[in-house]
Subunit: 435 residues, 3 copies
């Protein structure tokens, strides 16, 4: 497959990505529960997503699928009956995975369960307590400071019951059973860059690819962070051997520069490909070595799997102040940045799809290109010279050991020029794919 | 063999090289024809060159030996009968491989077949049309602009007939059947740096080496560019396995700095050797990676051969304005530069000849050098200290894995000092060559 | 074993090291003789040193144990009977290994046997003549210039007779038969930094380690330079296969920065360990490639052994003007520098002892650290975050291929933090040592 990147409309796609984010923003998601289901149902309007339910109590490697958590309502009322904190106003107000409670208490006692950010008095923090029973509210520091001595009514109407962990998966079949994995986390409530930008990118990437003839098969995962990837790996262990390239998608809507975090291997084809695209297509970027801290690459790159999975984001998690606060909102992500991110992911996939190694049918000396119309006789434009040089490079490295990406990197010529030269040589029977 | 570089007279040899260039300059050469034969006969006055004739129509890999081309005369006359372009004045005036023609035509029609360089109005360009039937004249832009409206008589008395491709070869037998290849192209008409400087260097290099006891056998090729190397490789395929080191010789007479283009392998012994010599013996030089564009290294380094063949030139082809014009003449090449180039080639060969790996006969601990007179007891001059250090380095790396060149590079000591230390240790029975 | 480096008192140990140096300083040592025996007996007051005697004439590889040399007295008297040079004043005054002589001679004749340093008129040089019969005196240049025309009586009462080469060895048995070698030379007379600082460091290092439970066995050698290491290697050839790491100890008492000279291999674990410690624990240091010139690493790294033995010194031999002169005295070495050097050697050993590779018992995905109390739930101090990150790194690289030192280098986290994380994971049954 060759993606016609010139006809890809980054602006239009960026707008659609932003629209989807807007639609998903109000939903309160967590690692389990109806928020996740609602989210996945909306995505099914775009792609034929299959939804999987893993029962509470299922053992997945060292972990156990926890009880399912759902929220009906949650607030704190003062003695006048006024709701001073209200989950209906913002899904971040409730400590994620709060146990149910209905109780009256003093301000002092209440404060033990309140979380704010003193340095950012207008922002609500995002907090969770998945694996230890607790309850709490998150609020702006302004709100916190406005609370007076009073008797407060705390009301949290949540359920923590045996149920399921829910995730979505779309398998797009290509010519080969070898797979490209694209995965994002879906467990955060109203957070736009961290969570929704990745969901949106993977959705539209899948939508775009599903109409094409593809070399690889593609697996798109929409999973809760950590426990979701662990569950998927535990339930699909045998399939992981098919994964040839993978990317964890997150944080692709802010205005920061691209950051690529290499796979644990460090020199996998996906690493070389992303680095190549960033070097050639964007002005500013940063390449980071793998570390076992971050998104779900932690699991895909655990030593027992060590899959060739990297992560391409814009500003990395935790490195922008809005991270895990209410300021990671619809103002923080930008349609044009979303569209540009999707375009870069497509460039990467375009290279993966075309990055064959070839064998020359005339390995001894150069074939006579002139008689085949593949070489100029008198002078020629710069463009023609570049094509000729690309042709010579492809032939010279068509020894079954060098991929087109290697050839592009070694020659300093654009991957597309190299790819076009290879295709012309295949058509002229001077090259064949190294099976 | 150890070349006594101190007794090599670069100046005298440079003068002789220049004289040979002067003698060959007027001859109109091409990829076939009597110009090549005449050139090779002159070289036979210096070295016992064998001349080979490959018939027209012979298939050599993907190519076919073309018809032989010879020129008797060629000119353009104006209506007054005056020759306004005359092949007898300069061999570059005729488009190389022009078909025969005798015809009257207007200036407009004639101009379709004229080639000049507007930016360099005093220079005649060099053009060829080997594989598509055409005729033409090359002239200075001044000449072109002086042509008035008139009826011109075009007269090209060439022959394009079944014949031969001619090349010269001199095989100098050494102690080993392993070969060093030195090759130059002989297909250019009156061009001094591009063509004649290489021919001259290879000739005098062969002449110099033929009186020595050599470790390697040497193969000196004088071949037409591209088709000549392809023909040689096709006809000598089985022999290529003997080629251990090789250099394509060209452009060694101008005043520019040395440029070494690595073999496709990039880390062959020839690559390390040339880089070592340039690092240690010249002030300015440049090392370039292999690319499949250039001289006959394109064929020797095609993937089916991948021979350890690099190319050592001064200014690379195409990077000086005089390239492929009449300005690449007897003024452009300098006797002292030719002599210096030959000296550098000899230094390279001196290292190749001496670059053995050794095995220490006392690998455990140092041997007692003092009792053998190989180590000073009290102090000593700087020179003596250097010799002692060289002795220790050679012994320490005499494990059959490190060559003397490796030892020189790792120790930072001159190759000659390292080589002399190794020879002294061999004489003292402390070292033997690793067979 | 984990060395409690925080409780190690560098200052106190430095003082003790200096005291030992002071005690050994007056003794006239050589490559054989009673000075060496006296020195080793003093060391036996600190560590259970075994003393070995190798008879004169014993063949050790390419060398032969020489005759034993002992001095009773040596002086030069002028015609008034005044001793103008007196061995009793300084052991350096006598050319080491001088043959006996008693003779009267003119100043001119005497001067042929006198050595001084014109540039350093107050210093006595140190000279030897082990393997060629000679006699001589070393003196300050001032002394030399003060000598008047006179008849001098030269009296050297030395013996050169069949005897022994003497060396000391202490083998400290650890859990494994694999060994760490620590070796110093003991053949120099009154020289503090070159010789005594190394002797003192190895002695107190051995004394410190002997009370600990050790992973490795340790071999401490106190041997004459060159002939001593050659003798030890010849007599212990079979044992050398057990040596996994080694350091040649010398020049550790001056005020210069640390210099590490890599083993011949260049990438041995000892090389990585020393470089790691210098990078992390000292401000200024220099790493030098191996060269076959220096101390006894010359023998341990000869090609037939090629042991992983480097050398950690302060200012390298020959690079300070006091080297091999009477100015390398008790003023030149400093107690605090000696103590700091010992602390650095202990840090190196601490890493060697703890530098295991591990296998994760949960290689697929991360184990759930939270339920084991190995991971924080809410925020945490910087220290806690560092510990969590160290835990994740250790788990991620627990594939049996990465040592803790690799993990420390790759993560940028302190070795001690990494080691503590590994120990906690072993206790939690999440990790086991890769046997």
């Amino acid at each position: 497959m060759t993606i016609s990147l010139k006809t890809f409309n980054a602006k239009e796609n960026g707008s659609r990505m932003y629209q989807l984010i807007s639609q998903l923003y109000p939903i309160c998601r967590s690692i389990t529960g109806d928020g996740v289901r609602k989210t996945l149902h909306i995505l099914q309007e775009h792609i034929p997503l299959e939804i999987f339910e893993v029962p509470t109590g299922t053992q997945v490697f060292d972990w156990t699928i926890p009880q399912e958590w759902n929220v009906r309502d949650a607030y704190v009322k003062n003695s006048q009956g006024k709701k001073v904190i209200d989950f209906q106003h913002h899904s971040l107000h409730l400590l994620n995975y709060s146990i149910p409670i209905q109780q009256k208490m003093s301000l002092a006692k209440l404060k033990e369960h309140l979380f704010s950010i003193p340095d950012r008095p207008e922002w609500i923090p995002y907090r969770t307590s998945y694996y230890s029973d607790n309850w709490g509210f998150c609020l702006t520091h302004k709100q916190l400071e406005a609370l007076e001595e009073d008797e407060y009514e705390v009301y949290i109407d949540t359920s923590l019951e045996p149920g399921h962990l829910t995730y979505g998966e779309y398998y797009l079949s290509g010519a080969s059973e070898e797979e490209v994995l694209l995965t994002c986390h879906i467990c955060h409530p109203s957070l736009c860059n961290d969570n929704l930008s990745g969901i949106s990118l993977v959705t539209f990437l899948a939508e775009y690819l599903k109409s094409l003839d593809l070399r690889y098969s593609y697996r798109f995962l929409f999973i809760p962070g950590t426990i979701g990837s662990i569950a998927w790996l535990a339930l699909n262990e045998a399939r992981t051997a098919k994964i040839k390239h993978g990317l964890v998608v997150a944080g692709v809507g802010d205005t920061g520069k691209f950051n690529y975090k290499k796979s644990r291997r460090g020199d996998a084809q996906i690493d070389k490909t992303v680095i190549h695209v960033l070097q050639n297509s964007v002005k500013q970027y940063q390449i980071n070595d793998f570390s076992p801290y971050g998104y779900d690459e932690r699991q895909f790159c655990s030593p027992g799997f060590n899959l060739p999975v990297g992560s391409l984001t814009r500003t990395p998690f935790g490195q922008y102040p809005q991270y895990h606060t209410s300021a990671d909102n619809l103002d923080f992500v930008k349609p044009d940045k979303l569209g540009e991110s999707l375009a870069i992911y497509l460039e990467i996939i375009d290279i993966l799809e075309n990055n064959y190694t070839y064998i020359s049918t005339n390995p001894q000396c150069e074939p006579q290109l002139g008689k085949r119309g593949l070489y100029g006789t008198f002078g020629g434009t710069q463009d023609k010279k570049t094509k000729e040089l690309a042709t010579l490079w492809v032939l010279n490295l068509a020894d079954g050991k060098h991929s087109l990406l290697d050839t592009s990197d070694r020659s300093g010529l654009d991957f597309t020029v190299i790819r076009d030269a290879a295709n012309a040589l295949v058509n002229g029977n001077l090259l064949k794919i190294n099976q």
